[in-house]
Symmetry: C2
Subunit: 210 residues, 2 copies
DNA sequence: GGGGGATTGTTAAAGATTTAACATCCTTGT
DNA sequence: ACAAGGATGTTAAATCTTTAACAATCCCCC
């Protein structure tokens, strides 16, 4: 995979959307799709679709379009989804538990293989098939498989501490659901998902129009 | 509130982060903060902080900095958070239930006032204090309060249909957790949160460095 | 086998966002 | 009262992203 240039974050997000549409198209037995069709289905412009794909190579045929299955496979490979990924979750509260059971992860190749918490009350109880384990066992589990991806669903106050321990254990990609800014060393990828902030965006835009 | 120009989406997201830091600072009894301090705490540049604020007015004192409480109040007002907002959730699956119980919403002024589902099995059971009601009752509930904000936590296949009904009922801001692109008419604000896509971003970036 | 229509890949232009630079203004100390 | 230091607000430059335009290519039909 030859990525000579820095790929915009937004492009990566759109690739996901494209891939979902392509999978649908393939399942419907459609043999070619145009950038226009992809664009319409995903809410972007056709130029955007072609530009996004151009970062990675040439996947279509001029005058014709793209083969859904082929392009789907390419995109999945670009995204690193040509394999399954084990994922651990820290924090067995409501959010952590819901994420652990969320079907959407498995559908895209992510397997929740462990849930950890510091609350002794919770240790031992199960979420779905998975038993909640004490945080101290994280390192062992992470290095055993190994696991590279983790989700943080703990209170804001302990997020930085938890993230540090995850990194020390060997986790290299982290999604942080705690509404706080945490830092990670070079080489570790961090993404923050702030649920309340999403609602705040809505109230801001609603306020704008009045 | 005089917003003469179009405000970047990213700016809105950062305001949330600033406000959280400012609240902390105020609680600690700090009397002034600089753009540099805000920047450091939220992971942006000081210039960015000042630029973001400049869209809305002048809130600081040259040579001094900002008063945390004052700036916090301004930002909350800008975001439309100088009041509480009722919110309804459609879809009482695991994700919907977790969101309904998520403490982070209430802390930022969002009250979940209703949960709706089409599954007859679920109707009548409770999530926390709130009883799951059939989708048909949505319109009535929304217009009674009225409710302007809604969260979609239903399968991708029914998301568009649900969103249409929400809009018809009077909802004007929607967060969509279903991994599918849905469309809304002019005047309705839509935000998509794709949880699997967040993990995919991580795998992409991890793949990049090898 | 050649022309018309269609669609990609790519280059250039436009637009938006971020960063940097600096003039302005405030506080403090002498 | 005034100078020095420091932080904002604002303008300009740089960077990044999106949109538009078009040449290159392919398929289909006659």
């Amino acid at each position: 995979m030859f990525k000579k240039f820095k790929i915009p974050e937004a492009t990566v997000g759109r690739l996901t959307a494209y891939s979902r549409f392509l999978k649908e198209a393939e399942e419907k037995g459609i043999s070619t799709v145009s950038s226009q069709q992809i664009a319409k289905a995903t809410g972007v412009t056709p130029a955007q679709v072609r530009k996004d794909l151009a970062y990675f190579g040439e996947f279509g045929t001029r005058g014709v379009g793209y083969n859904p299955r082929e392009l789907y496979n390419y995109i999945m490979k670009i995204l690193g989804l040509d394999r399954r990924w084990p994922v651990i979750i820290i924090g067995a509260g409501r959010l952590g538990a819901a994420l652990a059971m969320y079907k959407g992860f498995a559908e895209r190749g992510f397997d929740i293989v462990g849930i950890f918490d510091i609350d002794p009350e919770k240790i031992g109880s199960k979420i779905g098939e998975i038993e909640i384990r004490p945080l101290e066992e994280l390192k062992e589990k992470v290095q055993e498989l190994p696991v590279k991806l983790g989700i943080v669903a703990v209170p804001a106050a302990s997020a930085q501490q938890v993230v540090d321990y995850m990194v020390e254990s060997g986790i290299r990609g982290i999604i942080n659901f705690a509404p706080v800014n945490v830092s990670v060393p070079e080489g570790v990828v961090l993404r923050r998902v702030d649920l309340a902030s999403q609602l705040e965006y809505l109230t801001f835009r609603l306020g704008e129009s009045r």
